[in-house]
């Protein structure tokens, strides 16, 4: 049960700044995911919260108390490492009870807490094994169990699923989400995988180059990205980006000239655009459809059949590559010329600085 607050937190190594001023407040029992490409500072940020890295500037508050100078073991946080970091010469029970042993708790109490955590994670049969004898998923569960036993204020996860195979990752994802509901604990989770972020988070923090790009609920980020970076990072397959010109605008819509010369009206209230400006139109793959009388035309390069739906990669004469998500049907083949229809209702517009020009207040409706 804890709140975390970051105030202008920075991290510098020598002359290089890795985290460039992060302000964030994490509510009690919230599941917050830090997501971003590698090198964006998300792990460093987590390690600063854990106390494994010093905070170069700014403040970290745990439950409203400044924690910059508190050593890691006294912050009452528990961390699950990417490499699991299990102690190889201790049994599963020894691993899970190590923190309590260090705290000088009586043996009976340690055994009881370990047994309780083992029950939650279905590790009861494995308590006498050593980590070497466990599978990757079991090791991951032991690492989580080691965190649970300590009954921490907040759980910190550092890319915990990246060493697991795809099927196991999906399973562990739901297990961690379930655990969050059962334990009613605050959790901070770092990943580079936007699918993990979308599926698990109450709120996602998108980091880029040491700065926070956007903070919001998964759907909010998906439908209303604040910048081109967030739009491109969240969502799979990626959002399609088209360079377009503004032909004019009124209070309700912006008229755009598409690369092929066709025009398109994008509904937008009070958009901050000038006629004649070059802007980027962002279209999710599901906002495009295959239509013979569509506004764009192009040649099919690749068709990916997913069963229920298919992803059609189309190259336009202007050399833009568009990915269209459509109901799966067999009639589309590579090298075929197709028309592309656009549903502009959920499209995004970005200015030359990469920031969003439209705020879709109806995004979550």
């Amino acid at each position: 049960m804890a709140t975390l607050e970051l105030r202008g937190v920075r991290k510098t190594y020598g002359t290089g700044e890795v985290v460039k001023g992060v302000d964030l407040s994490i509510k009690d029992r919230e599941f917050v995911v830090f997501v971003g490409p590698s090198g964006c500072g998300k792990s460093t940020l987590l390690r600063m919260i854990a106390g494994l890295e010093e905070i170069s500037a700014g403040e970290l508050l745990i439950d409203g108390v400044r924690a910059n100078e508190i050593p890691p073991d006294e912050r009452e946080l528990a961390m699950v490492f990417q490499s699991y970091a299990l102690y190889p010469h201790m049994t599963v029970a020894g691993n899970m009870g190590f923190a309590l042993k260090m705290a000088g708790k009586p043996k009976a109490e340690i055994a009881a807490k370990v047994a309780q955590a083992a029950r939650i994670l279905q590790l009861e049969a494995l308590l006498d094994r050593r980590p070497k004898m466990l599978s990757g998923g079991q090791r991951q569960r032991v690492a989580i169990g080691r965190a649970i036993v300590r009954n921490p204020k907040c759980f910190l996860f550092d890319e915990p699923l990246s060493n697991l195979d795809a099927a196991l990752r999906v399973q562990m994802r739901t297990e961690i989400a379930k655990l969050h509901q059962e334990l009613e604990a605050t959790m901070v989770y770092v990943t580079h995988d936007q699918v993990e972020a979308m599926t698990m988070a109450d709120r996602i923090v998108v980091l880029n180059g040491g700065r926070v790009e956007q903070v919001g609920a998964p759907l909010e980020l998906y439908r209303n990205p604040a910048s081109k970076f967030v739009a491109g990072f969240i969502g799979s397959p990626r959002m399609n980006m088209l360079e377009v010109a503004v032909a004019g605008h009124d209070g309700a819509a912006v008229r755009l000239t598409l690369p092929g010369g066709e025009s398109l009206a994008v509904p937008a209230r009070d958009a901050l655009v000038k006629t004649g400006a070059r802007v980027t139109l962002g279209l999710r793959p599901e906002s495009l459809n295959l239509a013979d009388d569509g506004a764009l035309r192009g040649k099919v390069e690749v068709v990916e059949h997913l069963g229920a739906e298919m992803l059609v990669h189309v190259r336009t004469p202007q050399d833009d590559l568009l990915i269209i998500k459509a109901p799966d049907e067999a009639r589309i083949h590579p090298n075929q010329t197709v028309g592309i229809g656009i549903n502009p209702a959920r499209s995004c517009l970005f200015g030359e600085d990469g920031l969003a020009l439209i705020l879709r207040v109806d995004a979550l409706a």
Binding site: L52, D73, Q82, A85, Y87, P88, M90, A99
Partner: protein, 295 residues
């Protein structure tokens, strides 16, 4: 099973021409000296008495075991090996921990810490004897004098201690090197996890680092024991086994018998005893190492 043996037999038969040169060389290399040692150990054979050379059965062994000097030599060997092992492991672990930490000039410090290993044993022994431990012009004597401590003539009052100091100095770098590389392979997130679990520096050493070093320690023990049992140059250049037989180890006893007494038969018997002792120690060590490797 029978089929397997057959296949194996055919393979052995086919590989034999290619394998034989190596096997024959190895055989000559190890079996012939061993056989000759066993042969001589049952003979009266003294180089000062060249005309007489005959079979005496186990008399050489009888003389060896009835001589109290033999037991002293065995005890000296064990004391030397055990002391140097303990010292080199403790100091080696401490040095490895120190050299694994980040500090300016770490590369140079590592090089200096390893360098005693490159000094030849007779040279090392002479440096210690004449420049460091010498009661009149030795560095250690001078330093002890500065603190008003009495000067110790090391090689006459505590010859075994002096020998242990010299040999330890030579072998600490080996232990340091092996343990340092082992420390570098320790996953740093284990240390971080232990830090978050509330383990202080001593608890991290006790519960994380030392268990991690179990395997390399076993390797150091095995390697050093093999080399320490045959320590010779250091004894010859400092004490020549004396005063009395205070620093005569089994290896040095063989040397005395063979090249000072010219008694080849007695030296061979002592050599066989050394082989038996080395094998007992070796068997015991192999078992414990194998156990720690299987963990």
């Amino acid at each position: 099973m029978a089929g397997g043996t057959k296949v194996g037999g055919r393979r052995e038969g086919r590989g034999w021409p290619l394998l034989s040169p190596a096997v024959i060389v190895l055989g000559i290399w190890s079996v012939v000296p061993l056989a000759m040692t066993l042969w001589y150990s049952t003979r009266y054979y003294n180089l000062l008495d060249p005309g007489r050379h005959f079979f005496v059965g186990l008399r050489n062994y009888d003389l060896l075991f009835s001589d109290p000097g033999s037991l002293t030599a065995i005890a000296n060997s064990i004391i030397l090996v055990a002391s140097v092992l303990v010292i080199s492991l403790i100091v080696g672990t401490a040095l490895a921990l120190l050299l694994n930490a980040e500090f300016p000039g770490r590369g140079a410090a590592r090089l200096f810490a390893i360098s005693p290993f490159f000094v030849m044993p007779p040279v090392a022994a002479l440096i210690w004897k004449n420049l460091l431990l010498n009661p009149l012009n030795g560095l250690l004597g001078w330093m002890m004098g500065l603190f008003g401590l009495p000067v110790i003539p090391w090689f006459s009052t505590a010859p075994m201690v002096a020998l242990i100091i010299i040999v330890s100095w030579e072998w600490i770098p080996f232990a340091t090197l092996i343990l340092l590389t082992a420390l570098q392979s320790l996953d740093s997130s284990q240390i971080e996890a232990a830090r978050m679990d509330g383990a202080g520096p001593l608890a991290r050493l006790r519960y994380i680092i030392l268990p991690h070093l179990g395997r390399p320690v076993a390797i150091v023990v095995m390697m050093e024991t093999i080399f320490l049992l045959s320590i010779f140059a250091e004894i010859l250049t400092t004490t020549s086994g004396g005063p009395g037989d205070a620093t005569t180890t089994l290896t040095f006893l063989v040397y005395i018998r063979a090249l000072l007494d010219f008694n080849v038969g007695g030296a061979s018997a002592a050599g066989v005893l050394a082989i038996v002792l080395a094998n007992i120690v070796g068997l015991f060590l192999m078992r414990s190492v194998a156990r720690s490797l299987n963990r």
